[in-house]
Amino acid sequence: MVLRLLKYGLSRGYPVTGDLPPTPDLRASYDVVIVGGGGHGLACAHHLAKYHGIRSVAVLEKGWLAGGNTARNTTTIRSNYMTMQSIAFYKEAVALYEGMSEELDFNVMFSQRGQLTLAHSEATLRAFHLRAETGRHMGIGIEVIGPDEVRARVPELNMDRGGALEIIGGLWHPDGGTARHDAVAWGYAREASRRGVEIHQRTAVTGFGVTGDRVTQVQTDRGVINAGAVLIACGGMNYDMALRAGVDLPIRCFPLQAMVTEPVKPWLHTLVSSVSLHTYLVQSSRGEVVIGGGSDPYQLYSTRSTLDLKEHLAEGAVHLFPFLRGLKVLRQWAGITDMTPDYSPIMGASPLDNLWLDCGWGTWGFKATPVAGKRMAECIATGRVPEVLAPFALSRFARFDLVNEMGATAASH
């Protein structure tokens, strides 16, 4: 990496190459059609081409790469979940992020600066102890720390001593970090297309032709194509897309909002989140303070923002770091998130033989981009669901065998 960077820096004229070829014409058929050009779909395409030798792959994206939730998210990457099934899965995600810039020969700016979740009550602290024990058992970096260590890690925090929101401890997760979201998508896209994957931007899937137990046709606004296998990775539109193939997923869509302030000098060196305040913050490498929180209160298919939610985010942020008061908000936005009843994804087989699901990513799926791509590619290439994905099967709902992550996900993503 370093040598290559040096060579590039010293080369005459800084050779520039286009990252992606222009969108080609659609062919009549592909071995695999991936619906959705977000991080997940592109990561799967990369793994299919590089590790399984499947190169007749089309990624169909109705807008532009990463224009869904991939480039709208607040980029929290972590593995400090509640259940052993989730921790095993997200631990693999973090490990893949650690090697991603090398894997893709593309700097995704992974910054493993640790995540600190704050406890303002004994009840939260007890839940943290449970998460820390389970996490340690599963081999991730995680510990409960007292208020003095919280203060030592983030001296600017308002500890609210004696107040209603006094910080009485924290959950410290040194494995946590962030990465550059659009770089993740573009890195995968470039590698996949180098190996022959076709990326079709501005190509919307409108429906499917289903014969018996198989999807036989993918209908698009640029024509109809045949596919050996189909992956649905449509982010906020997963419910709607699966329904077009007759699959009714246990998903409800809610907007999720975030915002960033104008840049200030670097002062926040970890990710900080507060479950009670429904607020979390991270300072970007440009110095902007990225602020996120809980979902909108009711179902909606819209990326409109509301003043109420933005006020709520600002209130939480200013409570934790009073000196942020007066900073200007530079950008604010929303994404549509596909929420499941247990705050875990739906991955693997569908009721149709050749239709695969990478859905239900809700407010927490950016961190899973590399592992979901890798494991879904394995499903498609081998026809078998790997063990690490088994707990997340659609069939878990009919078995009442949920993977409940609400407590570890609702406010920290």
Binding site: D248, S302, R304, T306, D308, F400
Partner: protein, 84 residues
């Protein structure tokens, strides 16, 4: 702020209300496990008009609303049992 019309109290700020989710069909007596699973975990989520439960928190009025989930327009609200 967005307004929602409570059938009892008239138009109020939407932050006075609690969303209770889409209307679900009743479950028949002696339903099978699969019906229970669908009843608990599947809910209306198609883009378009949807009927859902809301509660006006200060007056504890639980009522129904029809709302369009693409445009966020509230089409009508009514008390359960009353004619919409």
């Amino acid at each position: 702020m967005k307004l929602l019309t409570c059938p009892l109290n008239g138009p109020r700020n939407i932050d006075e209300f609690q969303y209770l989710g889409p209307l679900r069909p009743d479950l028949a007596e002696g339903a099978a496990d699969a019906d229970w699973a669908a009843h608990l975990f599947r809910a209306e989520n198609r883009p378009g008009p949807m009927v859902e439960w809301w509660r006006h928190t200060p007056s504890n009025t639980v009522f129904l609303a029809e709302r369009h989930t693409l445009t966020d327009t509230i089409l009508r609200t009514w008390l359960p049992g009353a004619k919409p």
